[in-house]
């Protein structure tokens, strides 16, 4: 398992395939760790969200790189794109849920930072998604998955 400290280095490394999206996601980790103490009864949601954050940190660069591809994507690449879309969708759904719960709690001071992060991650994901829409020969399932991600972005 990669240490968080290694991610800090990779995100700052000009040659790595970790970009601003990974940095934004990593910056969510301390906030979620702290918020976990404020919101009781949501342990499972936090565990799932933290796992998703770590997974999407890894996937964000792949998603971005594939979205820039001038070549037609292979079946394996499309499968990876759809897996990443699913992960983004779950993560954005979870963050939306946290925002709703946090708004109703005394921990609402976390909202501006989490919301800013949510908007930025959503924006990056949508930019990549629009490139995938413009490509040819998308698999049929792509459209349903992309639609689910757009719904998660809308909240």
């Amino acid at each position: 398992m990669i240490k968080l400290d290694d991610y800090l280095y990779k995100i700052s490394d000009k040659r790595s395939s970790y970009y601003a999206g990974s940095g934004a996601l990593l910056s969510l980790v301390p906030l979620m760790k702290s918020l976990e103490n404020d919101l009781v009864g949501m342990d499972e949601s936090f565990t799932e969200t933290e796992k998703l954050i770590m997974k999407v940190i890894e996937e964000d660069g792949i998603f971005f790189t594939y979205s820039l591809s001038k070549e037609q994507l292979s079946d394996d690449q499309w499968n990876k794109v759809m897996e990443i879309i699913d992960d983004y969708t779950s993560l954005l759904d979870n963050l939306n849920q946290f925002l709703t719960v946090t708004e109703l709690s005394q921990a609402d001071v976390y909202i501006p930072m989490i919301k800013e992060n949510f908007v930025f991650i959503s924006h990056l994901a949508m930019m990549s998604l629009s490139s995938f829409y413009e490509m040819s020969a998308q698999p049929e399932e792509f459209f349903a998955k992309a639609n689910a991600m757009l719904l998660a972005i809308r909240g």
Binding site: Y9, S12, A107
Partner: protein, 127 residues
């Protein structure tokens, strides 16, 4: 000095809600500094590098110093919010100056995101 894993691991043990909020907000600035560092390197090695007025080398040194200082602050027993705000303002200023030399809207957006988050962190630290 604590590494990032140790900083994150320490969050749950802070029982005071206000202190934990400040500590976690400050900890969230470190990945943002990594983002800025990468972006300014890429810009400087791209087709349109920074102008001499930007003083790229000096800005990278400032950024690294600020990053070290923030890690030291997060490793100390007591959180020195005043010092942290000063360093965050340095990073904010570098990000702002860099963003002013960038035409690409998407890249500019990355810088502006970091600036907005630093503003959010400063508000939390000053409360």
């Amino acid at each position: 000095m604590k590494n990032y894993d140790e900083i994150i691991d320490g969050i749950e043990s802070i029982s005071d809600n206000q202190r934990r909020l400040k500590y976690s907000a400050l900890a969230s600035s470190l990945p943002l500094i990594s983002v800025i560092r990468k972006l300014i390197y890429r810009k400087n090695e791209g087709k349109k590098p920074f102008t001499p007025e930007f003083s790229f080398e000096k800005k990278v040194r400032l950024l690294d110093d600020a990053n070290n200082d923030l890690q030291k602050i997060l490793s100390a027993e007591l959180l020195d919010c005043l010092h942290a705000v000063e360093r965050l303002n340095d990073i904010r200023q570098i990000s702002l100056l860099a963003s002013q030399e960038i035409k690409n809207e998407s890249l500019k957006g990355d810088f502006l995101f970091v600036i907005r988050q630093i503003d959010n962190i400063i508000v939390i630290l000053k409360a």
